[in-house]
Symmetry: D2
Subunit: 342 residues, 4 copies
């Protein structure tokens, strides 16, 4: 019998991507979809690409009957999410796509998100939702906090290297390029087509991007000491895709071996042969991550490049991996869609 | 047990799209992939987005053991295709993506393709591969000729209207906009990113585009008289998607009713409510067609707009529909992937 | 001595384009720039691509000293424009980029713009700002109303044909494709990069687009009878450029001859050799119009295709032509910039 | 009287850009245009965006009368260029856009370009064509070698910092994003629209990109010691524009002050206020460079970001600056065109 899923905040891109993935999942049924301003509309009105599906209309959260729901996917904005999840029945499983339950430390949350956390008691039971590294905890968790899409990309490139201590922890630079859908469907001048197409620029330069909170937490935990990376995201004139170009000091062959070994059994992570490196185009629309390692001409320096689709593996695909784990399904069910190229 | 499929010409976009779709089909196995110049390479080298799949390496056609093949999908260039199919075992089922077996009339073929047809005997047993209209013939056919992607789009908009004689047959204009992947992976200056992005232009203007051969054949057959439409394709700065804006003279409400009734039971064709019209973005990567009808301010004139993905519904998705029909599978198997938006 | 120009509404794309063009004009000086919500900011903040210029800061309209101004370019939204122009000193020359003074008939204005016109007295002295056709009136006008960008493109393709009565006036179809900058810098969901890139759709289908008001007025005036064209605009995933594909019934050679003769002396309008047709990419960033004519396979039918840059020739370049004429400068001064390709 | 300019290799993008810029230069006349395979065609056929200009038809180099030429702009491919320039009259001024005369050391040339240099005697008289740094030498040079477009961008960000010794010379990383027109108009599969749009990838990773030859030569010369930077270029889905994100170790305020002081008098280089950083979109089609400096959260680290248009400031605009200097014109003549945005 199909698991019953409610998606809160279904009028945004991650909500729509969740519906897209669930549409061909054999054991899931969408029983509720919510949107705040767009409540009352059908999903076909809000996202015409989903009009062939038989979906419940968008309602307000208060109008959802959660007793008929097995798991909630929460695709709400930061800060809103914690309020909403706090008000849900206490035994309901939750996969949260916002930043609200990613940071374990209340002070860190306040530092990066500019306000105190309102549900620290729930934070204690939340598991960081990177399935490749928290798989067993996720299986039994009630609340899973999916990671930031940039944070996921950087971590896929770096976690095994930090754990294995094969790189200099004090000189890590993540130069990241991201498609625009990561910024969501919000009405901002800098997200207009005329402002974005045919060019690029950096943003959040100098150590102010919020995903650094996740990098700091996770990398420091792995290293057993404080690790602070440099991180510069850039906006690409493309809708989907993140490419992280990571500069590390360490032996390139060892770096490659370490990543290859770490991901040997992972169904979604492909480590390329040494010297090859990925393109975002080759993971578009899929849950796969491609990682490459190249040695620099200067000995002892390696470039690690990781590519994924921010809406799939970086958000809703990761969420569905977590949903599968939490509901006892095979982790890859519904997620083996091949990338869409060109 | 899985059906065994060989794909000839797998290094082009339609070949790759066929692999993408078969990758999540439950009952198909790819047993051979061919490419001429790229024989010897792996599919991962030629199309890195497929590297997570366990696929046979590319070989030359002569190196394929066709005794172990149930059906051949032929994604070769026009003219090459007829030679290759002629040389295949005579009992092998074939779905051809080229133009070689679309036109029943030898003179028409020579007119539109500039050379005599070399396998007219095979042409006699080929079925025109538009499944919504030739479904029963396709089930029992040995050779099915998938249609041109533009030809498919125009026909979805017009066939029911011509059959039902609800429009003026002498005043039909198809103004079509197509993404660039329809032109294939060939090295032409006008297909370079720098030449194509950020603008548009028409091509094949004035009644010289080859897909007119298909329009003329099919529409005249339906009407029982000669029908010649006007057709102007334009190249879009987008990879996938065709939008056909079709100008007809007829009662808009009747036009809408006729299309709605014709497609009521079709799993892949969605007729929008009267007055609404589609976007190519909402069918991208999927096998769906969206069709809308709007009445003009001038009475007795309607605009029919149809959208599909040229690589999926316009080519390899249509091919897989045909493969399913020919091998006794449910027609929709493996084809219900939701569109990828944004 | 340089003419003193004020630009009202300088924070939008047409305002910025006006500044771009004036930047290399030898005899113009920008003495005031206004913006409503962005008053107080510098132009470099609002449009960093203009930061190398020494420009006045943005102020509110009330803070402009119009006694030091020779001519006002008004790039304000429809409806706002008429209020503002009404309040300006009565002897000040005005070039208006809004729709407010394009339609001579009060009822027509109300029909297409949904509200009564508030300055019909000024309308009486306004000249329709298509310089190739109203040149002499523009020289002596106080108020010139630049045309809509789509309206300009369609008129360049059709005016000489209607004047010369070489086409069927009852069967004209304009299928138009426009870049997104024509929609301005406003915050609308459908103008986001993620919603617009990589695809196309029609809008204003069926005879409801406001530029039809201009087509109706001008074409009927030329023909001496009512002329109502069909008009379907489509949104392109490109920032600049309009391509109008116009279907007419008439002799293609006569159509071509008529256009060639009409534009023989025009500095900005290039009629291509018979059978060739233009691309928007080849006029980008320039004040040129390229027009081509192709004969259809069906005798007595021609396709006329016109391309221009909506922000330059379709808006601010046209405005500068008018400014030049009104201030006694050579019409082409500052406007001979070659298109930017690729 | 106008200077007479010949452009060799006018069928490529840098050749066309040269024509675009010269089109509005008051004191230059194009007297010859050459192309090898396209000889015999008009420029309007090869580049329709230039069809409004009265230009000589394309001829083969052997058919040019160089006695009527004051200066040759050579836009030929690497290796070809040295052969052609060697055969020109020895008193003819030459601005070369290829890599052939950039590297002073024969061994370096052979290392980076894979073959021995065939005209080292001419190399001795060639001046490195970065006008902001070699201005006086350029005025009197016979041969000027314009720099690589990536090399120019990196040098604008770094030269003053290396000269002033305010950064660690052993830890410089240039992560660069470039538009596709930098790769020229050549027919390569990876330059097709379908392969490039909607994504990004790195290339020349690990210290193998040829522009490193220029970085090594120039930075080592400035430092008086060997300097080897890390350099990773990425291909953007955009036609024009380079953004170099440069990671340095040094005091951010000092870095900013050094750059601001260095470029205070430069007409084309704009140093942004501390903490701001540029977009490629804001220099498109222009000869301007925008440079920004941001301090990292980790003390002693700065990010320098430089943006320019690879075809203008990175190639043909730089060339015209050099032409102006060599012919006694004001350096900025014809080059003050404002960027085209959006």
């Amino acid at each position: 019998m199909a698991h019953k899923i409610a998606i809160l905040g279904a009028s945004g891109y991650t909500g729509a991507e969740m519906v897209r993935l669930l549409a061909t999942h054999p054991n899931m049924e969408i029983t509720a979809l919510t949107a705040d301003r767009k409540a009352g509309q059908t999903m076909a009105e809000v996202f015409p690409h989903l009009r062939h599906l038989d979906l419940p209309a968008l309602v307000k959260i208060d109008d959802v009957d959660f007793t008929a729901v097995d798991l909630v996917v929460c695709a709400l904005p930061h800060a809103t999410s914690q309020q909403v999840i706090k008000a849900l029945p206490r035994d309901l499983k939750v996969v949260d796509l916002s930043a609200d339950f990613r940071l374990r430390d209340a002070a860190a949350y306040e530092k990066w998100y500019g306000q105190p956390h309102a549900a620290m008691d729930l934070q204690a039971e939340a598991v960081y939702g990177l399935p490749e590294f928290y798989r067993e905890d996720i299986r039994t968790a009630r609340i899973v906090a999916c990671t930031g899409c940039n944070a996921a990309t950087g971590q896929f490139a770096l976690r095994p290297l930090i754990s294995a201590r094969v790189i200099d922890l004090d000189d890590i630079i993540i130069d990241l390029k991201t498609g625009v859908s990561g910024a969501g469907r919000s009405l901002k001048e800098n997200l207009l087509h005329a402002e974005l197409s045919e060019g690029t620029h950096a943003y959040g330069v100098g150590g102010v991007h919020r995903h650094l909170g996740e990098f700091d937490q996770e990398f420091s935990l792995l290293a057993g000491r404080k690790v602070e990376v440099q991180f510069t995201p850039h906006l690409l004139p493309a809708n989907r895709g993140i490419l992280a170009t990571v500069y590390v000091k360490g032996d390139p062959a060892v770096v490659h071996d370490t990543l290859t070994a770490a991901y040997a059994e992972e169904p979604f992570i492909v480590t390329l042969p040494f010297g090859e490196h990925p393109s975002t185009r080759h993971v578009r629309g899929s849950n796969f991550v491609h990682i490459g390692v190249v040695g620099d001409r200067r000995p002892g320096r390696a470039i690690v490049i990781a590519a994924l689709d921010n809406l799939t593996k970086g958000s809703s695909g990761m969420a569905l991996q977590n949903v599968n784990l939490m509901l006892g399904e095979a982790e890859t069910t519904g997620l083996m869609l091949a990338p869409v190229f060109p």
